[in-house]
Symmetry: C2
Subunit: 566 residues, 2 copies
């Protein structure tokens, strides 16, 4: 079935988040609520009509390297230009960068829709958005003036170059070198892998943000600097000029996202410019990565929505089994109902968490309040990991609902699962997100976490009148999360990390249940029925997860790796 | 890393199951314990050296239809012949059928190893084994004499033909027709899909067991009969003669198992012979399916073992991050330890359940005792669903441990996940297994389930002395399962089915914890450490699952399908 954008969820969540409060700030006064709705509807139209039809095309016609040229799937160039023409690439960029200056709340919703419609294509704009943000925060004025308008318009594209064969999650192990040139630029030499949209035939220029080490850079992450390295060196007029010394060596053969060119790039003294301060490249990259992590979280949610929509349509039309009045669509079977309701409840929960994170980013931008910054920082790893886990789980349930037809590629159900799988890995694996949550994001002694738990419990108190049973369960789960957080804060890092993934998921279940309860109270009807599914069926898992988090790590290290072999 | 067979697990489980008791029965007296070990070691050698190297080959060189000939991947023909030459296809067949008459316990272990080494290839022998069993139980003497020795030797192969485009899980909706011929045979006409190993260039003959409806067959499953339809009609000497009217129309393009030809077969008046009684085809097929379900369960476990072995080897050699003494292999990270220990604990639990099921089948065969038959019947859906879910979950954790390298196909981590995915679907989806458990297998008023729960609790009592904490938790979880079973027995079928999948998983968690506790008590050391992981980290999920099972179905049907759309 064709992709359908979740506009009713977005409308509800803008209410629940208090979008009007955001629009009342000077920073976002230009985007009142009705305009926000119009913007989302316009993006939905683009996604449903232009992007979604390309999703299967990209899978069947993978990007390929042909005589040194990276060929993209049919239709991708035109759709990319349509995204750019709509202003969607620069939607959250500052107006002085050539952007629309929209709130992240809206940009995040649009990114979710683009991901759900065609993830392989959306990756390109997402990385360009991240590059815009890094340059806005860290680049010198000359670089900003030259590059930002061309990136925000979508004329040029941007990439992130972190990974090397020996340096995946351990970025500090990188070997790429940067040598100063006499003209103030740098010569970059090294190989980078897994470069998403690292090359494409239809882009006039591609700008790589490359992590590399200066001659005087210390070992590890403290000695890494960030460089902007364009494929074509801009001439005096700012047009693409001479070819830079960066070569596309090969494209990866991947489980999914076949339409997205994932490149191995070789830099042989390529000319680049320092972004930010020398040896402070990781800090600059983290600016970019934090929002990119939210962006990846909504990739998971977008694919989940698409997989859910297809599974629901399939279940409503696939006849198997009989009722007294004839053949029955499988949606009438209790187990299929259970799967569909689970998928739907998970998608709404993940979406609510992601938009809460975006909203906190916007409130921090608009008010400068440290509390909102802390809230955004706390929610980012949860939004990333739970959003992408939801993408994976919902896509897998989608396959299951399709039965045997889920295993053959022609239905497209399997593609969602293949495509979304990497979102739990890239931009920091979900394990790393959980370590971030339990270490860096708890460096405040748990203040941000406890403040959020307080809000969940206060909302549950308010909801007791209308939904006593559900409110009670949410309150109790939040209390269990509070106690587990107190325990976690007493643990050493190794114990925390051993329980980090279950702890993060428990946190997400509580936040998801909170969003469902608020939705039930605000809208009632089917939203209340869905809240019941989320709170009575999905939330109870939190206890088992928190039990794991309390276990520490002793038992894990009691098993030597060689003891594990059967 | 190369596949390594889990012989130490098998040895331990033969102890825990009481293999000697089985070998003391007249039926299996010819296979004492030391011979059993030698047989498993011999199969392990074949799997490790001959089959495992073909796993990636099959993925990269998919089976394909070329001018009407079904080409198989390079090396598959030779390996298939090696399996046949070792007697492994007919290992559980009766000696009078040309088989070895081995216990299912050993055949199941061998099937797991073959699956772990190369699932795409193992599917062929597994289906032939199922056909042998169906013919042994239901075919007339003439058919048995002609076909069984050729199938048991692996000279010919067998397939199962149930599914049609409009009839997947709902077999009763099939349209294939069988018309009587004057010579006592039947003319079969119709189209069957998803026929695993439905054709192959190197097989001299392929024998299809086809479900079809006789002219006087009632609608639904009650009017279905079973027919044996060979690709080549045997001549007077029993050699393949004239080509029968069955055509391979196409091969499916699948998510995984690329090496296995999955065929659409067209029957145009093909000549076939009735197997069993007219209109009793479903009963005959169920004989075959029950053991095939156990076989599919161990497919999941075999792939899980292979994925685990590869992930463990990767984690021991992949350097990321540092310790005070230098780079550290990722196996030293707590979250990777958690994943590996989880995988290992799940695999052992699933393996113990599958071998318990096989042991019950053997004891039923050897003693004819109804209690053992009931035990085998109860365990079959649990072994199938939990074994295949374990395959899926462990393979996905394997991808996660590989990080970005898990998403590129060259490492092979993704292949395990792609290949194993269908095992949760075919031979009855795992949802159908759960419905079978909560309906047909509870038709005894829960007697078989309660008897098993009693045994778990009795074993926990015995274990209290050495492992008080773990024994307590297993006992309590078994008690929760007992209470949930009592609740389930009071529910109507729709409510049962709404909670069937979570209920089955809770049952499996309790049985898995029981196996780990017994292993801890029997062997101590690392087995006790692993039991702690299983019981303290994995078992607690049972409470959340049973909470779902208690929910019934009202909330699910309160949400209309159109209410689910976002």
């Amino acid at each position: 079935m064709p992709y359908r954008a979740p506009l009713s969820d977005f409308a509800l969540l803008l209410d629940l988040l208090g979008y009007d409060r955001l629009a009342a700030t000077p920073r976002f006064a230009a985007v009142p609520r009705d305009m926000a709705g119009a913007i989302l509807a316009e993006a939905a139209r683009l996604c449903e009509t232009t992007l979604a039809p390309l999703n299967r095309v990209g899978d069947r016609h993978p990007a390929r390297l042909e005589n040194g040229v990276t060929r993209t799937p049919p239709g991708f160039a035109e759709a990319y230009r349509a995204i750019a023409a709509g202003g969607w690439i620069g939607m959250a960029a500052r107006p002085e960068s050539g952007g629309m200056g929209l709130p992240m709340t809206l940009a995040t919703a649009v990114n979710e829709m683009m991901s759900g419609a065609c993830l392989a294509l959306q990756l390109g704009p997402l990385l360009t958005q991240g590059q815009i943000e890094a340059l806005e925060h860290h680049a010198a004025p000359g670089l900003r003036a030259l590059y930002l308008p061309r990136l925000a318009s979508g004329e040029w594209a941007g990439t992130m170059n972190l990974t090397e064969p020996q340096a995946g999650s351990d970025v500090g192990a990188l070997r790429t070198k940067a040598e100063p040139n006499p003209d103030g630029s740098y010569a970059i030499t090294g190989q980078k892998i897994y470069i998403t949209w690292g090359d494409a035939d239809f882009l006039p220029n591609i700008c790589h943000l490359v992590l590399a080490r200066l001659p005087d850079g210390a070992p590890g992450t403290a000695g890494i600097s960030l460089f902007l390295v364009p494929k074509f060196l801009p001439d005096a007029a700012g047009n693409p000029g001479a070819r830079n010394a960066v070569t596309t060596v090969s494209l990866e053969h991947k489980l999914g996202l076949h339409g997205s060119p994932t490149c191995v790039l070789q830099y042989d003294g390529a000319k680049g410019w320092l972004v930010g301060e020398a040896h402070r490249g990781m800090a600059a990259m983290f600016t970019m990565m934090n929002n990119a992590r939210l962006g990846v979280g909504v990739q998971g949610i977008g694919v989940a929505e698409a997989a859910f929509g297809q599974a629901l349509a399939f279940a409503q039309t696939r006849i198997q089994g009989r009722t007294p009045t004839g053949g029955a669509a499988i949606v009438e079977h209790a187990d299929v109902r259970r799967m569909l309701a689970t998928m739907r409840a998970q998608v709404f929960a993940a979406r609510a968490i992601a938009l809460s994170c975006a909203h906190a980013i916007d409130m921090a931008t608009a008010t400068g309040a440290p509390d909102w910054q802390a809230r955004a920082a706390l929610l980012t790893p949860i939004a990333k990991a739970y959003g992408t886990d939801t993408g994976h789980e919902v896509a897998q349930l989608g396959i299951q609902i399709h039965g045997g037809m889920g295993f053959v590629e022609e239905t497209g159900a399997a593609q969602y699962a293949r495509d979304v799988r990497v979102t739990s890995i890239y931009e920091g694996t979900n394990g790393i997100q959980a370590m971030d949550l339990t270490a860096r994001k708890m460096a405040d002694g748990g203040a941000a976490a406890f403040a959020l738990i307080d809000e969940v419990q206060a909302a549950a108190e308010t909801a007791r009148a209308g939904h006593p049973e559900l409110a009670h369960e949410v309150w109790q789960a939040a209390e269990a999360l509070r106690e587990a957080t107190e325990t976690l804060l007493k643990q050493g890092l190794t114990d925390r990390f051993a329980g980090a993934v279950p702890y993060l998921r428990a946190f997400a279940l509580v936040l998801g249940a909170d969003a469902h309860l608020r939705a039930a109270r605000h809208a009632g009807g089917p939203r209340a029925a869905l809240a019941r599914v989320a709170i009575r069926r999905l939330l109870p898992e939190h206890a088992a997860l928190l039990a794991q988090a309390r276990e520490g790590s002793t038992d894990l290290y009691a098993l030597a790796p060689e003891d594990l072999a059967a």
